[in-house]
Amino acid sequence: MIEVKDLTKYYGDKEGRFKALDNVSVSIKDGDFIVILGASGSGKSTFLNVISGLETIDAGSVSFDGHELSKMSEKELTKFRKDNTAYIFQQYYLLPHLNVEKNVRMGADLAGTKDFSSYLEAVGLKEKAKKFPSQLSGGEQQRVAIARALAKKPKVLFLDEPTGALDEKTGRAVLDYIIKLKEKLNFTMIMVTHNENIAQTADRIIKMNSGKIVDVSENAYKKDAYEIGW
């Protein structure tokens, strides 16, 4: 369970200082699929970075299963990320000199997962295990990033615009993979997007604007990746 209370985050120095997050409070249950929806500059990515322990906060608190992230040392935060979280970015960030299999091993080794090929199979890339990122399409690279993240067996998966760099067809396919794997493995999933259609796939939608949460709604009419508009 992630508990966020009165979270405030500033960027910049005295003159150019601005509030990226303004008194944000929310609680996320285990197994939830949350979408954080907002336009560019709304603070959604900052929020994701803060609750995943990548960024520090200026006020408020973020606790994960009762452990306060802001009180953790750098070493404890590293262990927290190692044991609990995985990240998928819009730009994939695969390691270019390692093949697909070895990229997935980056996540698998941390969880002690020996059979990482099953994750490649899950994203339909087992035959491309020996290929390098530069030899894959954008969609395939993002699927490798998914396999790498899931091989880590995370309790929470953070996704920052995972389909943002993909065309509609590939984007839908990647989103479908993510949702199906989430249902199968039942981890908590927190995804940032500016696309209202994609938000329709989540259990709960948190809308953000100017660093504040402006609306939290349960999504009674959950759709799959092929039912939503794009």
């Binding site: 990515s45 970075n49 970015f89 000199h97 070895k102 980056m106 390098f132």
Partner: protein, 378 residues
């Protein structure tokens, strides 16, 4: 067009290497020419053998120091160019997409030889500051009349102008070969992995895989790490014997050049490894790898090269001094016998281990401070 004068200012390493090479070469070559001029006046048998020994020393030192440093400078220049093309691939890709030819783009890389020119020019000037003291020490035994320091324009041509032109040509030709990539690969920053690397055998864990991949992707840096250890080892050990074999001044000169070269190349190499792996390190940290894991993956692979460089440097200085003592100075009386000095070797090794491992720990701290946000800001 592509390369600006500001970019060449980052090539401090090239300037330092050429500076050191030209200081040493100009001291010995200038002395060699001036010494040759008084050949007929040297008649005393002892003075003749001393004369022959000094002529030979000048030739050996110029060939070895000049040759080694010129070669290392070429490698460093090529490394900078490759690094520049990799880090500016998008801008270069845009130029190629607009219709600029590889040749036209490569011509701008000749500007990199400006750093060679600056290093050579400063080295040439600085050598004249040391020249008087150097001449006095070379004739400390008053074997011949005092030699007047001559200025030889041909040396300026040979040590300043010719290297600048040659390095400009090298820069053009090398960059031309590196620019021969599809425009789309440059625009997208796609890294082509060589066939050999594709079939590398599986290793125990990810960190080992990463270490091996980092080493393979930056092979030039293996050379530089080894070279910096080689400079440190050979020149420090060599300088320790200069008070007996030559003079304190010579010892200080060798020690200074050794330390400057070792630290410059080491700093450039390690900083470059970290810079080019910034995103990979940040990604590893995001996933929960510790700073120590990242250091093992990115920096520890170079340790073997460093210690090999140290060993080669120790052997090199031993055989060089041995040859100088037994062959070049064989007819000169009172030249002490030269044996491998284990005491100096172990002290240098201990200092090297302390400095190398200590610096690696400092870089581990630097890794810890790499902002995880860095990769998200792209």
């Amino acid at each position: 067009m592509v390369v600006s004068i500001k970019d060449t200012s980052k090539m401090l390493g090239v300037s330092i290497m050429t500076f050191c090479a030209v200081v040493v070469c100009n001291l010995f070559l200038n002395f060699y020419i001036d010494l040759k001029a008084i050949k007929d006046t040297v008649t005393d048998p002892f003075a003749v053998s001393m004369y022959e020994a000094q002529v030979m020393t000048s030739k050996v030192v110029c060939s070895l120091a000049g040759g080694c440093l010129a070669l290392a400078t070429i490698v460093l220049l090529f490394f900078y160019i490759k690094h520049y093309i990799d880090s500016h691939s998008k801008e270069i890709g845009i130029l190629k997409a607009l219709g600029y030819s590889d040749l036209k783009i490569s011509k701008s890389f000749s500007l990199f030889s400006l750093s060679v020119f600056i290093g050579c020019l400063l080295g040439f000037g600085f050598s004249f500051i040391l020249m008087r003291k150097f001449y006095e020490l070379q004739n400390a035994g008053h074997y011949w009349e005092d030699i007047k320091i001559g200025y030889h324009p041909e040396l300026f041509l040979l040590l300043v102008i010719v290297p600048t032109i040659l390095y400009a040509l090298f820069a053009c030709v090398y960059s031309l070969s590196k620019l021969n990539r599809p425009c789309i690969n440059l625009l997208k920053g796609i890294v082509k992995v060589k066939e050999k690397e594709r079939d590398s055998k599986d290793r125990k864990d990810f960190v080992s895989e990463m270490r091996s991949s980092v080493l393979k992707s930056k092979k030039t840096l293996v050379f530089f790490i080894a070279f910096s250890a080689y400079c440190f080892s050979s020149m420090i050990q060599m300088s320790a014997h200069m008070d007996e074999l030559a003079s304190d001044f010579m010892g200080m000169m060798i020690l200074s050049i050794g330390i400057v070269l070792a630290f410059t190349t080491f700093y450039i190499s390690v900083s470059s490894v970290l810079f080019s792996n910034n995103k990979n390190i940040a990604m590893m940290r995001v996933f929960g790898y510790s700073a120590s894991d990242c250091k093992r993956a990115v920096l520890d692979g170079y340790r073997v090269a460093a210690y090999i460089g140290f060993a080669v440097g120790s052997l090199y200085q031993y055989y060089l001094l041995k040859i100088m003592v037994e062959i070049v100075f064989k007819d000169i009386a009172d030249v002490p016998e030269y044996n491998f000095d284990f005491k100096v070797f172990f002290i240098t090794l201990a200092v090297f281990i302390l400095l190398y491992e200590g610096t690696m720990l400092l870089y581990q701290k630097k890794i810890k401070n790499i902002s995880l946000k860095e990769i998200m800001l792209e």
